[in-house]
């Protein structure tokens, strides 16, 4: 229920168009960076589902302002929709678990390979994300010359449904943030990356989806978990490559 209401609020906020996000572009030529410590805690443990324009959501939206009876209908519709989404989430997670799908491993390996191909020395920073804070707080490393700490905060990944009549497709939403290891108050890069965005956010990285990975129903994902895992893997690798591209 909370997630559904959150989706409505997100859509409303997006349409309200607040102050645009301000990225921090990285400049390798001036920073002379050679080493990157990647925070080893990028993604949520489990895949999620995102649903946008559902029948339940539209009924809830249309009736919520129409008096007490309307509000009751809206709450029932939202509740039914939330229960449906919870069931779909569980089915997708089970399908991915069958494939021993490890999103963190897929993302970390792809990011490390991409950064190494750009001639960075890559190591791991053990810092963990704390609840209530977007990015990790890292202590200053006075002896760390030409070194940065790269923090990837995976907001969500999984399968999304834009609306009735569209397909279930992979999505990934990340926030990326890099600071100077010697002086962590110095932000070297900040951006957001979204794979298969339904509303591409201006001034942030938007990766289009892959037409090949679409499922008409959750049952189709359950029937073909190999392909479901493959589609999500492609999405995570694309997001990792985009993260590395910001550091060229």
């Amino acid at each position: 229920m909370k997630k559904l209401i959150g989706t409505f609020l997100t859509l409303s906020l997006l349409s309200a168009c607040a102050t645009p996000y301000q990225p921090v572009p990285f400049d390798r030529a001036t920073t002379q960076l050679t080493d990157i410590q990647v925070v080893d805690d990028a993604l949520p443990q489990k895949a999620d589902v995102r649903k946008f324009a559902t029948n339940g959501g539209n009924i809830a939206g249309a009736t919520s302002g129409a008096g007490v009876a309307g509000l009751a209908v809206a709450l029932v519709a939202a509740g039914v929709e939330a229960n449906i989404a919870a069931g779909q989430r569980a089915k997708i997670q089970a399908a991915l678990e069958k494939q021993h799908f490890d999103a963190e491993k897929v993302f970390d390996e792809a990011l490390e390979a991409a950064l190494k191909s750009q001639n960075y020395n890559v190591s791991t920073n053990p810092a963990k994300h704390e609840s209530g804070k977007t990015f990790v707080v890292v202590p200053a490393q006075p002896n760390a010359e030409a070194t940065a700490v790269l923090d990837v905060k995976g907001d969500a990944y999984g399968y999304q449904l834009a609306g009735n009549g569209t397909m279930w497709r992979p999505f990934v939403v990340l926030q990326v943030h890099m600071v100077d290891a010697k002086d962590p108050t110095k932000v070297l890069m900040d951006n957001k990356i979204e794979y298969n965005a339904v509303t591409p956010v201006p001034l942030t990285v938007s990766i289009p989806g892959d037409d090949e990975y679409g499922f008409a129903k959750i049952d189709d994902i359950e029937a073909n978990p190999e392909k479901a895992a493959e589609g999500l893997k492609k999405a995570l690798v694309a997001a990792a490559n985009s993260t590395a591209q910001l550091l060229k």
Partner: protein, 227 residues
């Protein structure tokens, strides 16, 4: 009397014609331009007519869209030729972040090569092909100019022109509705959302829109000490 009658008939005819006239449909979205034709290009970058990225009012964010068409100048640079446009940066250029590139149109995207220039128009750096990506509704780069960089050159990239991007786009359409509540005599407006998917095919082009967003890091654009 006869003249008045004739006049009335003419006016009525005009009114009727206007009422029945089918509105002119908008022109179709432009297609990619993949050749410069016989256009003669210059070997030097002209800074005349550089488009200012300093807004008339004090602002933190400012966006400019420039239509690059056949009338724009073209340039021979490093063995290739392309249409170009030059933007002049505000004072304190290093206090800004800039997102710049070709805007995604229905069928085409301006194919950008982006360089920064110093005060004399000399190139200080050029973004290599592997730096460009999709940023919201553009294909381009993000950058922070150096203190001595005063202009941005955006030139069409003939190596990219003619190539296509095929993308699956998932979007949400919003329509408005109104529900009347007879028990209260009032109603409420609401939005209905519809998700849809489309396969978008765009060709990189010598012509099209260039979109720039400049943001001040501190203060306002060109005025870092402004609150």
């Amino acid at each position: 009397m006869k003249t008045v009658l004739k006049g009335s008939v003419a006016i009525c005819t005009l009114v009727l014609l206007q009422a029945c006239a089918t509105p002119t449909p908008p022109p179709p979205p432009p297609q990619a331009v993949v050749s410069l034709g016989d256009k003669v290009c210059s070997d030097t970058i002209s800074l005349d007519g550089a488009i200012s990225l300093t807004p008339a009012k004090k602002m933190h964010d400012y966006s400019v869209i420039t239509e690059v068409d056949a009338a724009k100048k073209c340039l021979n640079l490093n063995g290739v030729s392309g249409n170009y446009v030059v933007y002049s940066l505000p004072s304190n250029p290093d206090n800004h972040t800039i997102t710049i590139g070709g805007a995604l149109d229905t069928y085409r995207t301006f194919a950008p090569i982006i360089s920064l220039l110093d005060e004399s128009g000399k190139i200080t750096r050029t973004f290599s092909d592997d730096r460009y990506t999709f940023l919201g509704g553009i294909y381009g780069v993000q950058l922070r100019p150096g203190q001595k960089e005063k202009y941005i050159l955006v030139m069409s990239n003939p190596k990219l022109v003619g190539t296509k991007t095929e993308a699956l786009e998932t979007r949400i359409a919003v329509s408005n509705g109104y529900a009347y509540n007879p028990s209260t005599g009032y109603g409420n407006s609401y939005n209905t959302y519809r998700g849809y998917e489309k396969s978008a095919s765009r060709t990189f082009s010598h012509e099209g829109a260039v979109a720039v967003t400049i943001q001040a890091i501190k203060g306002k654009i060109g005025l870092p000490d402004e609150k």
